[in-house]
Symmetry: C2
Subunit: 220 residues, 2 copies
């Protein structure tokens, strides 16, 4: 556990991103305090930060829960994510350095391996690194930071998405097209491919959520 109050912000972020804390899960202050071995004060400050970041929702006098955006908001978030990634791709295509190219290619082949094996968990992991490599290649540290933040926020949902049949293979082919465009310096194509790559995820996921809601309504 890292030092200071800021330390467990990262820990909680990770718990949410990896699904150890599911959307809607309650975040009890005293439980968290005892878990981290501190008092409620620093825990509350961490929750405030997560709240400002949108990862957590604080309802006055009613406690904090992991944010669970409705399908509509989720679509909107994916729409913005798509645009941020498109922007990263556009800039990367224009500003690509040999170091970033190497980095992207390495992550691409790591993804390829995971896709071949067909393991969603390791693909999820490598996929994340691949996208991060593109953010970094934009040579815009602020954009990179914004993209990472939103990516984290969407992580819990992206994760489920990859379990859909055949998604790994399709995703990997899209990755290859993206890298081709970036390396060729074709900023328009890079932007277009990345936008599509992300948007599709959003659409598929909104469908998934909608069907889940329908199901639960039928059950209840």
């Amino acid at each position: 556990m890292a030092k200071g109050a800021a330390g467990f912000v990262a820990t909680l972020e990770d718990d949410i991103a990896t699904g150890r804390l599911l959307p809607g899960a309650r975040l009890d202050e005293v439980s968290l305090a005892s878990r981290f071995g501190v008092s409620r004060t620093p825990v509350r400050e961490a929750l405030q930060q997560l709240s400002a970041q949108g990862l957590v929702e604080i309802r006055p006098y009613r406690g904090a829960i992991v944010s669970s955006p409705d399908p509509r908001k989720l679509m909107e978030m994916f729409e913005v994510m798509a645009e941020l990634e498109a922007m990263c791709g556009r800039l990367a295509a224009r500003r690509l350095t040999p170091e970033h190219e190497t980095n992207i290619r390495q992550n691409l082949s790591a993804c390829a391996q995971a896709a071949e094996i067909g393991d969603p968990d390791s693909y999820y992991f490598e996929n994340e690194r691949f996208h991060r490599a593109i953010y970094a290649a934009s040579a815009n540290a602020f954009l990179e930071e914004q993209a990472l933040t939103l990516h984290k926020r969407l992580s819990p949902f992206r994760r489920l998405q990859l379990r859909v049949r055949n998604r790994l293979g399709v995703s990997q082919r899209e990755h290859e097209a993206i890298v081709s465009a970036i390396v060729a310096g074709d900023s328009k194509a890079a932007a277009r491919e990345l936008r599509q790559h992300v948007i599709v995820q959003g659409e598929r996921f909104a469908d998934l959520i909608a069907s889940l809601e329908l199901q639960s309504r039928q059950t209840a």
Copy 2:
């Protein structure tokens, strides 16, 4: 003053956006506490939120200051802002409703009036409302929120830019082109015009640096 700890978050945001609190200004916890008539605890929580939002920088054991990004980061932020606004324009052109069109047109003429008088302060105010109208017209609440957040963060610097000679007139002509494109449903043109309107490059970059130096002299 609004209720709860969240209340003075908005107050402080406003103080920073309007320049009552300049970049680099120190945010003393006890001063703020007595100003708002509360103890340090809720003040600290507010500062955490502002920190997560990027408006404030908290240095361990050394207090919080209003963020003052260096010129490079500022450029990067404007680059992202340009893309977000371009996206708003693109979506607005596709999804424009009569209500949003009316709203945008009203704000456009309010800007026109302020530009004619040549008052930077009232133009600043109306300009903000104009841009907000476009964010809203995107019909993507999450995008709107993101754009507003970044806009707030850039406010202290946008303000300076408007003091440059002739900027008001140029800005207003750009506004007209933007509205034309949106109303015509030309999403590509709307995106392009907004991107150009917001991005800082060429001589505007030099202007920005110059005004930054002026501002930092005030703080010190």
